[in-house]
Symmetry: C2
Subunit: 227 residues, 2 copies
DNA sequence: GCAGCGTTTGACCATTCGGTCAAACCAAAA
DNA sequence: TTTTGGTTTGACCGAATGGTCAAACGCTGC
């Protein structure tokens, strides 16, 4: 690695560039930020961006790699808690929320670039995959394998529910007339999500066994769109 | 308006440009698309983009305006259904899903540009505001005014849960090994969301009245993050 | 036929983009 | 002191960007 070189602060410069890129990419998206912007934000010569990180694309990739590592670490911390299914679900939810609160730029950054082709962003897919497979495995005992109550739908719903808050926070604020990222509101949000997990799990556990394994999911009180 | 001019197809050209911009902005984001790209996609001279729509920013604004109108129309269709609270909630959910299915590019487009400053995108705020105020009003009888079960949290959760699917569809596909936008899966998703509405409403309606109005929300079976 | 007018075209502009490079820099090893 | 090698700088490149414009086009009413 390029660490601890003879002069001033080599790794420090590379890191300042990375942090500047983090802020700008999250705020304006990959295409919305120029290398000049990044260099200026980092207080550094533009050429240094290429010296330390190769290119704009490679810089972006390194940024995502760092996030992916932290994401995977945070989730696996949540995964290897023991206890009942309910306790494990709450552990993972908390781990996910911890990660999102400490890396809320990640959610914005990913969210901005994911809508296009996810082809070019394997880190994101791998990150999602971890959570998806864990959930599919752990919900197998209470969810039917197919239909609207299959684990894969709860994966989308609960990861969506968790991420949405942090991604849309700047848009939510004017609606609420209150800062969604305040300590009080973040704690309330956490309680809300745990309540949702409990309510959902309660209902799933109360399903007749026949409806958990069969292909015909419960349709009670649901309806189609024609009013 | 500039409609029905003497030559070839005036309004048609403006519309083709708008449609091309729609596709490209949704796929690559505002900054990721050049006016040349749009003109090429529309099969039209670049100058015409400026002739018909003024500038890139103004073109984008018109696009959002059109979506906002359709969004507002779709929602108000769902709003003025009668019946019980439960029936009205399902109507609005269906109206919202109908809109998202017919305008899935809107979700991607909005989602891409909302994370930055929502300052410059008043159309988006107004669109969200319609749904937020309707929900806050209609949930007032079953939700406490504050705390983790306040209507505003359910607004974020359920709009998030609904939108996420359509925005992340390209990223979900490789995970599922199945196309989330297929007819079968979209119908399943709809049933899943109605199930979530029912489960949530059931629990809210079973809350003791004291917990619906008081400032202390129920904490049963929820926990803090330290495991 | 001809004027009038909305539309279309392609050349053109200044600016910014991602990226390169030779030269200068500077602390530590010799 | 001189050499060394990782680091920093500013000038520079071709391509692409958003935007402009005078000229050409083509239909309609006269």
């Amino acid at each position: 690695m390029r660490g601890m070189g003879p002069t001033s602060q080599p790794a420090d410069t590379a890191d300042r560039i990375l942090r500047a890129a983090d802020e700008l990419f999250a705020a304006r998206g990959y295409a919305g930020v120029s290398v000049r912007d990044i260099a200026e934000q980092a207080g550094v010569n533009k050429g240094l961006v290429y010296y330390h990180h190769g290119s704009k694309a490679e810089l972006f990739e390194r940024l995502l790699d760092g996030y992916y590592r932290r994401h995977a670490d945070a989730l696996s911390d949540g995964f290897d808690h023991g206890g009942s299914l309910r306790e494990r679900l709450h552990s993972v939810m908390d781990a996910y929320l911890d990660f999102l609160e400490e890396n809320h730029r990640y959610a914005q950054l990913v969210q901005r670039e994911i809508a296009a082709g996810s082809e070019a962003i394997p880190q994101i897919r791998r990150g999602l995959s971890l959570l998806y497979e864990w959930l599919a495995e752990n919900l197998a005992t209470v969810c039917p394998p197919d239909g609207p109550l299959a684990a894969r739908h709860f994966f989308v719903s609960f990861s969506g529910i968790a991420v949405t808050y942090y991604v849309y926070a700047p848009a939510i604020e004017p609606l609420w007339g209150d800062d969604p990222m305040s300590v009080k509101n973040r704690r309330q949000r956490r309680e809300h999500l745990h309540w949702m997990v409990d309510v959902t799990l309660d209902r799933l556990e109360s399903l007749p066994v026949s409806e958990r394994a069969g292909r015909a999911p419960p349709r009670r009180a649901t309806r189609r769109r024609g009013s």
